[in-house]
């Protein structure tokens, strides 16, 4: 699933490890989320949003058409 986690993390000046520590996951999980290779649960999405001070919309919202194109 494509998302803006990496961009938001860099804007917040955090490393993957720092974000991982705040969200109570491993750095590998953050890396996979940023690459769109792992779909986090809503709880984890919220934890990431709280950590980088962004909303769910900012980080995870994608238009339906764009989402379909990315899947294909």
């Amino acid at each position: 699933m494509i998302n803006s986690v990496k961009l938001a993390r860099l804007e917040a000046g955090m490393t993957q490890q720092e974000l991982a520590d705040k969200a109570e996951v491993t750095r590998q999980t953050i890396s996979l989320i940023e690459k769109g290779e792992y779909n986090p649960s809503l709880n984890l999405c919220l934890e990431i949003c709280y950590a980088v001070n962004k909303s769910l919309d900012d980080l995870f919202w994608i238009d339906k058409e764009r989402g379909k194109n990315e899947e294909n």
Partner: protein
């Protein structure tokens, strides 16, 4: 050992457990199959592994009931469905009891005990499913 908090690793752990369960089940089946071929069914049912295999199967079926109930699309009243299940169960128990009663060396007491066991064995899952259906209807 540190407690796993990462949801991805928890999921991975569950998938690993599934593989372990499959290997374990295959191992149990292989041992029981070997005993069956070498020594017959009596040896199989005297092995504690047989009990483990049966209990695992029963627990698995009970856990699967929660999924089956969620998957149902029926809007029928759970009470009616319980009544139908109990009637069918009663008929099966009576028919089996009748055949046992008419078998040589078995009397009415044996038939009653067997029918009673069959009825109770069916009654417990029926009530369990009924309670699950009622709970799902309330949600």
């Amino acid at each position: 050992m540190k407690k796993i908090k990462d949801e991805r690793l928890k999921l991975q752990n569950l998938q690993n457990l599934r593989i372990v369960f499959m290997v374990q089940t295959l191992g149990i089946l292989a041992i029981l199959g070997y005993e069956f071929i070498r020594f017959g069914f009596d040896k199989v049912i005297s092995d504690p592994l047989w009990l483990v295999f049966l209990i695992t199967g029963i627990v698995n079926q009970y856990l699967n009931l929660t999924i089956s109930v969620d998957h149902e699309n029926s809007t029928k009243n759970p009470k009616n469905r319980l009544a139908v299940s109990l009637i069918i169960l009663g008929v099966i128990a009576v028919v089996i009891g009748y055949f046992i009663c008419n078998t040589n060396s078995y009397d009415i007491v044996d038939a009653l005990i067997s029918s009673g066991i069959i009825f109770i064995s069916g009654l417990i899952p029926s009530i369990y499913v009924y309670r699950l259906r009622v709970k799902r209807n309330d949600e």
